[in-house]
Symmetry: C2
Subunit: 334 residues, 2 copies
DNA sequence: ATATACTATGTAAGTCCTTTCATAAAAGTA
DNA sequence: TACTTTTATGAAAGGACTTACATAGTATAT
């Protein structure tokens, strides 16, 4: 006696002892149906709680308010914090948050292929992923309102930061503290196309040092992988050959932390022997008492949402770009 | 040469010289389609301006392909790691991930009121939130398949851990290391109803100590708020009055980290003066070289998804419960 | 070279609903 | 009464998709 959870027109037909065609006619009240038959059908519909499912669903989906977020898989805390900002901003709105995590650019592209078609999204936010012109055009063609975070594009709205300025701030801060020997730690991941934020941070750091009359020779640049332990090992090796005191600017907080661990292992005093500035200001930075360049991760997500919603309400506005300020947070490591 | 005004999947198939099945696969990006084929199909779609009809689609799939996750707002990393497990498991499936973050139980209840009706969900996962019988019954009545993580309920599937055993393991570990003075740090947040995991951890810890002939007097229990800085301050105060060496079991990694910071501030040697065991094994634990009880957070999310999907495929199975093992991860703090 | 294991694709069946067409019953007409 | 017309209905085809199953084609192993 398994009750059908979602009755179809067939169930109604059976219950009312008529054919599905008749049921259909009753529902759409197109043609003449004998009053008694119609009554019987309606009764069956009521009894079964039937609602033309497919259409109902299609309608429901169409009216449902949905914002999609494409994000790199939650490996790095920075993505999570951005996402947190998105969730926070979306919370009080009637929009649903649909998450698409991607692990590589192929994966991203396959989402970009299909989401504008079948995604039923009102808007899209893309976190920390770079789009090719082709896909940007696709989003525009299909009128899927999109906001980019971190990797901007001329034709779409974006929330971005001035990576170069971040490097510059780090350099200036170190210099003002009287430090004169510098190093940089970054990761190996380079953009598949376009410009990588990490290189911009390095550029800004180096440029400002040069301007101040200091220098950053290539041998003082450590390129380490995205793995804490390996980075720490490499950092230990690197640090052993350095004259002290040294000032290191790490491209991310996570790498800064690896450096700190390496320094502890070598019994270097922080910040006396080794000054470290990170980049991001993750939640974790506070735990490590890390001096770092704050890039307002949570806010980036929030602002992206606000921008998107305002565009949905006022379509056709010119492309908007929001540049978030960077801010050096002085803690104990530099 | 009137071009069909509303092209169908058949037109696309013809234009791209493939079958409608392949077109369908491309727009749903389910299975493997050769990149060139996919490109050709997409080109045809673009050229014809094809857009799949939602009602037909709904008719054919007659499932939502949507899994909802209700989670406390991403404040604590443990929720994020659970969510990460969910996302990882859902990634390769055709299911969409819809996130509902809640900040209090009223908020949770309002979701539970509406989601079974209008959520258009195939299944629901509830992370670290406790349900009243009333809402459990509601989920059952509306046949919304649900899996609970962390706070189980007799009538629903769940993924849980043995909190008491975690406390026991910590006690045993300390004792075996020869430690004989103990303390516990937990947070103030108590469950609104039912039993709180933190108290279970404490219970297990205390019971095992008692069994071993040691004790944990109430004055050795520090109840600290969910704030790193305040916890650190309180911990500093607490530690100043302690005889050393001391073994502290922290109910969460975050609190263990606060303890470590306090210890550093007081120049205590870890693990000689102060041994610390945390609970969770967050990503961060490794950075802090924290000895801790691993509760397989990511896995909990993954298993919840697997359980849910298997139930969707085999409805009416008896309620399933998965108990994840706890495991002590030995690092540098104890 | 042959056997084996995948991959990519197509064929065809299935989904749930609408609509066309045929027909039995009822009603109207001569 | 016999003959048309009307009306109510069902059988079945069609619509726009998805998907289980089968197979040709390629890769890999022996």
């Amino acid at each position: 006696m398994t009750k059908n959870l979602t009755p179809t027109i067939y169930d109604v037909a059976t219950a009312a002892h008529v054919s599905i065609a008749t049921v259909s006619r009753v529902i759409n009240n197109l043609e003449k149906v004998k009053p008694e038959t119609r009554a019987a059908v309606l009764e069956a519909i009521d009894a079964l709680g039937f609602v033309p499912k497919a259409d109902a669903r299609a309608r429901a989906i169409r009216t449902q308010r949905r914002i999609g977020v494409i994000t790199p898989f939650f490996t790095a805390p920075s993505f999570v914090q951005r996402l947190r900002g998105v969730a926070a901003a979306l919370g009080p709105t009637p929009y649903e948050l649909v998450i698409y995590t991607v692990t590589n650019s192929k994966h991203l592209n396959s989402y970009l292929d299909t989401l504008p078609l079948t995604g039923n999204l009102d808007g899209l936010i893309i976190l920390s992923l770079e789009l090719t012109d082709h896909y940007v055009q696709r989003l525009l063609d299909y009128h899927l309102e999109t906001v980019l975070v971190e990797y901007p594009h001329d034709l779409l709205c974006s929330v971005e930061i001035d990576n170069e300025d971040g490097g510059k701030q780090a350099a200036g801060y170190f210099y003002k503290k009287g430090l004169r020997r510098f190093a940089f730690v970054g990761d190996t991941s380079t953009a598949e196309y376009g410009i990588h934020p990490i290189s911009l941070r390095l550029n800004g750091f180096r440029k400002e040092l040069t301007r101040l009359g200091a220098k950053l020779p290539d041998c003082q640049i450590l390129i380490a992988p995205y793995d804490i332990n390996k980075t720490r090992e490499q950092a230990v090796q690197f640090l052993q050959n350095q004259e002290l005191p040294l000032a290191i600017f790490a491209a991310t907080d996570l790498q800064a932390i690896s450096i700190i661990q390496a320094a502890r292992q070598l019994d270097l005093k922080i910040p006396e022997d080794l000054a470290v500035i990170g980049f991001d200001d993750l939640d974790m930075a506070e735990y490590f008492n890390l001096t770092t360049i704050r890039q307002h991760l949570d806010e980036s997500g929030q602002i992206a949402v606000e921008m998107l919603l305002s565009r949905l309400n006022n379509p056709g506005r010119p492309v908007q770009i929001s540049k978030l300020p960077l801010e050096i947070i002085e803690r104990g490591t530099a």
